[in-house]
Amino acid sequence: MQNKKTWKVTFRAFLYLLPMLIIIGVFNIYPIFKSFAMAFYENYNMFSGENDGYTLENFNILFSDEEFHEALTNTFVYVLFVTPISIIISLFIAIMLNNIKFLRPVFQSIYFLPFVTSTVAISIVWRWLYHSNYGLINYFLGLFGIESINWLTSPDWAMPAAIIMSIWKSLGFNILLFLVGLGTISKTYYNAAKIDGASTWQRFRNITVPLLSPTIFLVSIISFINNFKVFDEIYALFNGQPGPSNSTITVVYYLYKKFYTEFDYSVAAASGIVLFVIILIFTLAQLWLNKRFVHYR
């Protein structure tokens, strides 16, 4: 960072930030305050704006709701599986893509396809892959003598099914970001390391990971945030249901249900706040780790 912190620079900086700040302020920050306020009103009527003052009762209702506990647990399970696995696989694929020349554009385009393919097509195909009788996955498991699994209709397997599909679906996006990061690493490092006789693993450990750490950090923050907010994947895979026996209900699914089908917007907003706090804690932890381990050039 080159310049000293002065009011003059601050003024200039705000000119650069202004267009973005206006939009984010009006369409992100303002609605956050609006909806957060909703969580603290007593007997709030969204249509008339009437309420009986402030209360913490909505949080009380929320925390005593068994379904919300389930939603929290499911969300954690989902996030803790999807995020790291997806990051590791996509990092692996990105490095492989980065190491080849022949056919690279073809492969790269193919890995990007799930990102543009219609969500409906994706969910239908996965529903078929998971089909207990005709599904390809059970067919392959059968080759190894594994009995067919009721991926979509068994409450025990619904969450793994959602996790596997989500990992698959998130790859294209993460790979793309990793490729951008890998593009900034100069080949000269690798050449030097090769001359020194460093093994593939050593090169990965001592060059790629440290130099890519800002990108890994970025991808992990974004993945954590997005995965905590999971809704679409579940909704699409289980055809508008939160899984068999409610087994894949997530916090945002809960929020959506409370808000739009039960008109319980105050409780919905309260669940939004709880989720926000959880994500915030996670992100702060990552920022702290970032300060300690991420290597900024």
């Binding site: 267009p19 700040l21 992100n28 193919i110 396809l113 970025l218």
Partner: protein
């Protein structure tokens, strides 16, 4: 020899992965050419028989895709362009300028990403209604002219460009603003193009918001047209997939055009080293 086996293994792994990536896409196109019966057959037919190109014609008849396409191009084009501008400007401030409140502002921006968007819908709708923007292009474009995620990506890339360039530019009498557009942006094309592609795809496929803030058919975008094939009793998959294919082809082409910039990455000499 060892080198060769390593390469072969890489290609084999990539090919296996590629197959799993391509199945849904293939299935979408295959289904778009199937008959109604084949489309719902279990186990599914891999190859349509016969090829029903008529599905595309039928799908086109159901909704005014011409008008939708026009709107989609306008909305995606302008919002992507606008977001790129706001993101580049903001990223520059975060990456290159040292100012009061920087950490706080960045933290607040990051925090906005942590709130589920499902809560924004109603307040934002009310804001747009107060602005009398409902059922106009403004409602479809303006709320999407900035994204924290995009700022984040571009900022990260700007930070990886060596300070030396900045000083060199200063010596040459280049202002901050010129430095940003003449040097920083061209050097960060891979990140910016990536951001543009991600944003454009997201905007192109957006469904709920465009539907909520518009009322006239003449203001609707392509994804809205896709719902015409679903009824209470089921979905006409072959028509839906024909329409879906039509909807995403422009995005695939868009990606292919810009892919080379993503691959090229940043000029190697450009990084700090």
């Amino acid at each position: 020899m060892k080198y060769l086996t390593g390469k072969t293994a890489t290609y084999i792994l990539l090919a296996i992965g590629a197959v799993t990536m391509i199945i849904p896409f293939y299935w979408m196109i295959a289904t778009s050419l199937k008959t109604a019966g084949q489309a719902v057959a279990m186990p599914p037919a891999w190859i349509p028989d016969p090829f029903q190109f008529g599905n595309y014609l039928e799908a086109f008849e159901v909704t005014p895709f011409g008008q939708y396409l026009f709107n989609s191009v306008i909305v995606t084009g302008l919002s992507t362009f606008g977001e790129a501008i706001t993101a580049i400007l903001a990223a520059f401030a975060f990456a290159r300028l040292n100012f009061y409140g920087k950490d706080v502002i960045f933290a607040v921006l990051l925090a906005t990403m942590m709130v589920p968007g499902e809560l924004f819908i109603i307040p934002n709708f009310v804001t747009l209604a107060n602005l009398e923007w409902i059922n106009t292009y403004m409602a479809l474009i303006v709320p999407w002219l900035a994204s924290v995620f995009s700022v984040f990506i571009v900022k990260q890339q700007f930070q990886s460009v060596s300070d030396d360039y900045y000083y060199a530019a200063k010596v040459d009498g280049c202002s901050d603003f010129m430095f940003l557009w003449r040097i920083l942006v061209p050097m960060s094309m891979s990140a910016i193009i990536t951001m543009v592609v991600l944003k454009a795809v997201g905007s192109w496929n957006a469904f709920l918001w465009p539907l909520l803030v518009t009322n006239d058919t003449s203001m609707r975008t392509l994804p809205v047209g896709l719902q015409a094939f679903t009824t209470e009793a089921g979905t006409r998959f072959e028509l839906l997939m024909a329409a879906s294919t039509f909807v995403i082809i422009p995005m695939v082409i868009f990606y292919l055009i810009f892919q080379k910039y993503i691959i090229r990455g940043i000029t190697n000499t450009g990084t700090k080293g």
